[in-house]
């Protein structure tokens, strides 16, 4: 919310002193570097897409076919992926796990953020700091002890292993983000409601939550993307092919000893990326604000 307001402001003065720059100078200092950046940043996606629809013959014959283009596009790799591998199952697993982990984390984060930011119980500041520190604990140092725990709890190789461990990085992030949103809601609204006899629960559900819908969306899609992209826990806690998530499945099941099915691999990477990219394209503003918001607070 704060970010969109801030991005609007510079546009009021129409680029400031931009008119002082001549066009050739702008081409060299702005447009040319931007073009290079965009090409470099997008090339892997182009390469992924073009490989996914390229017949195997063209893929390895650079002498007769220009590798940057595809002469006879084919859906063979995608067909193979969807019908001859467990890929659809991995997609379903990833969707279920990400959605469940996101809801669980949002639920916990809403209460925690409201308590820290508005109930101001004794020690709320310290708890807020602890939540921030929890966000800095990386999965790479937790996966070994967590794997022991997951095994002892009998969750090994079940979706619950991931649904319960993803909140370790989602809850701190969502709480931190929502704290920022709750802070922007005027105290007066809550005071009015308190005077009118509303309970804390009513204030939370009828006043604070409706006002922080943008924040909830930001936290939600961000959490969903983070769980969709998670790799190390999914690699460690899941063993059987049918329980794998997309990133793990593509890497461990589609790569067979020495024959690289590049077409199928790229198709798998492409289709696995699409859901988050589509989600992202619908909520770019929320996405940017949650990313910058989490850093700025």
């Amino acid at each position: 919310m704060a970010t969109t307001k801030k991005t609007k402001r510079p546009e009021l003065d129409e680029g400031g002193m931009g008119y002082l720059q001549s066009l050739p100078r702008r081409v060299v200092t702005v447009y040319l570097p931007l073009l290079v950046f965009v090409i470099v940043l997008l090339f892997p996606f182009y390469w992924m897409t073009i490989t996914a629809v390229k017949p195997n013959l063209e893929m390895t014959d650079y002498a007769n076919f220009n590798p940057f283009w595809v002469v006879h596009p084919t859906l063979e790799h995608i067909r193979y992926l969807l019908f001859d591998t467990s890929y659809p199952g991995w997609l379903l697993n990833t969707i279920i796990i990400s959605t469940a982990a996101t809801f669980l984390s949002l639920l916990a984060a809403v209460f925690a953020a409201y308590a820290i930011e508005r109930l101001r119980f004794s020690g709320a500041r310290q708890v807020g700091l602890a939540v921030f520190l929890a966000y800095l604990v990386p999965p790479s140092i937790l996966f070994i002890p967590l794997s022991v725990m997951v095994f002892n709890l009998g969750l090994y190789d079940t979706p619950f292993a991931l649904i319960l461990t993803y909140p370790t990085f989602l809850v701190p992030f969502c709480t931190w983000l929502l704290m920022g949103y709750f802070r922007s809601i005027p105290f007066e609204l809550e005071e009015c409601a308190l005077i009118d006899g509303a309970s804390r629960w009513q204030i939370l559900t009828k006043i604070v939550l409706p006002l922080s819908v943008p924040g909830l969306i930001s936290a939600g899609i961000f959490a969903f993307t983070l769980s969709w992209n998670e790799f190390i826990y999914a690699l460690t806690f899941i063993q059987s092919s049918e329980n794998k998530t997309v990133p793990v499945g593509v890497l461990t099941e589609l790569v067979r000893s020495d024959v690289y099915e590049w077409g199928a691999l790229m198709a798998g990477a492409l289709i696995g990326s699409l859901p988050v990219v589509v989600l992202y394209s619908f909520f770019v503003e929320h996405y940017v604000s949650s990313m910058t918001g989490a850093v700025k607070e």
Binding site: P10, L41, F121, V246, L251
Partner: protein, 316 residues
């Protein structure tokens, strides 16, 4: 009749009174509201953190609890050349990737901060590498770095710049450069977009005033942009450094630590020894060895952020 009703009445009133007292008490309500998040984090974050430290002092293996063996794991690692190589690799990887990400990210942010047509479109496009699952984009890089069919080798050979294929992931030096390049590719958008948000909070009037005072373009950047951007640079780079230092996915996909351990990071070595090799205790010890570095990075940035208070004349 009257007696019994008088005897019954106080009971619900005490109950409801204590309930409303509870609801009014910040601490009781705060405790209740914190419970779900606290339970999740204590059970799945704090406890494993402690368990990890404990495992580092045991000889636990997969399927066997292990007994306390003191600092034996650490003594073993101290004499282990591969461990020290992984520490060196991690530092090299983190430092060079972070510097590149910062320089290129800042450059891109400055470009995007110009008055461009389709500005929000470019901003959306630029963030894509960061949105897509790392493993999946890393697989694309794997194909780009293929020893036989690398598109980069082909393009450079067509242009006549090189005369034989580059062995991107097979040669130690090339492999290090390749994984750093892939990490920078993925990290630039995050740095650029967060710094862009910081740039947009700097008022244009400061630039105009400095220009009237005769400041050059470099001076505008050095004395207006940079000081005002420092706080957000500090926090962005802290996050970037932490995530690069603990990176696992990219290496696991591209090289699995090879060739001859030249790209093994501490996280991948910890996975290789702890999970693939089954030596949970040793793997945990390697993971614990990462903690001092992380703490150092956090403290460094904490004091970096403290500076901002007096820089901006106290308070926000």
């Amino acid at each position: 009749m009257a007696v019994s009703s008088a005897a019954v009445q106080p009971r619900p009133s005490i109950l409801s009174r204590s309930l409303s007292l509870l609801a009014d008490s910040r601490n009781a309500l705060g405790f209740g509201f914190m419970l779900p998040a606290a339970a999740l984090l204590l059970v799945f974050l704090t406890y494993p953190l402690g368990l990890g430290v404990w495992l580092g002092f045991t000889d636990a293996r997969i399927g066997r609890p292990g007994i306390f063996i003191g600092t034996e794991n650490y003594q073993y690692l101290w004499d282990d050349a591969v461990f020290w190589l992984s520490v060196f690799n991690t530092l090299l990887y983190t430092i060079s990737a972070s510097i590149l990400k910062f320089a290129l990210g800042l450059w891109l942010a400055l470009i995007l901060n110009q008055n461009l047509p389709f500005k929000s479109f470019f901003r959306a496009i630029v963030l894509l590498p960061w949105v897509v699952p790392t493993v999946l984009s890393a697989i694309a890089f794997w194909w780009i770095y293929d020893s036989q069919f690398s598109i980069l080798s082909w393009a450079l050979m067509e242009m006549g710049l090189i005369d034989h294929r580059i062995n991107f992931l097979g040669d130690p030096e090339n492999a290090r450069a390749s994984v750093i390049a892939a990490n920078v590719w993925r990290g630039i958008p995050f740095v650029a977009i967060t710094l862009l948000a910081g740039l947009q909070t700097i008022p244009q009037s400061l630039y105009e005033a400095a220009t009237l005072d005769g400041a050059s373009r470099w001076q505008l950047f050095r004395f207006v942009t940079l000081p005002l951007l420092t706080p957000i640079i500090a926090i962005t780079m802290t996050f970037s450094v932490l995530f690069t230092f603990t990176d696992f996915q990219l290496i696991y996909v591209l090289t699995r630590g090879g060739p001859v351990n030249a790209t093994h990071l501490m996280a991948t070595l910890s996975f290789q020894r702890g999970i693939s090799g089954g030596q949970l205790g040793e793997g945990a010890a390697i993971a614990v060895a990462m903690i001092p570095f992380l703490l150092a990075a956090i403290l460094f940035s904490y004091f970096g952020l403290q500076r901002r208070k007096w820089q901006q004349g106290g308070g926000d």
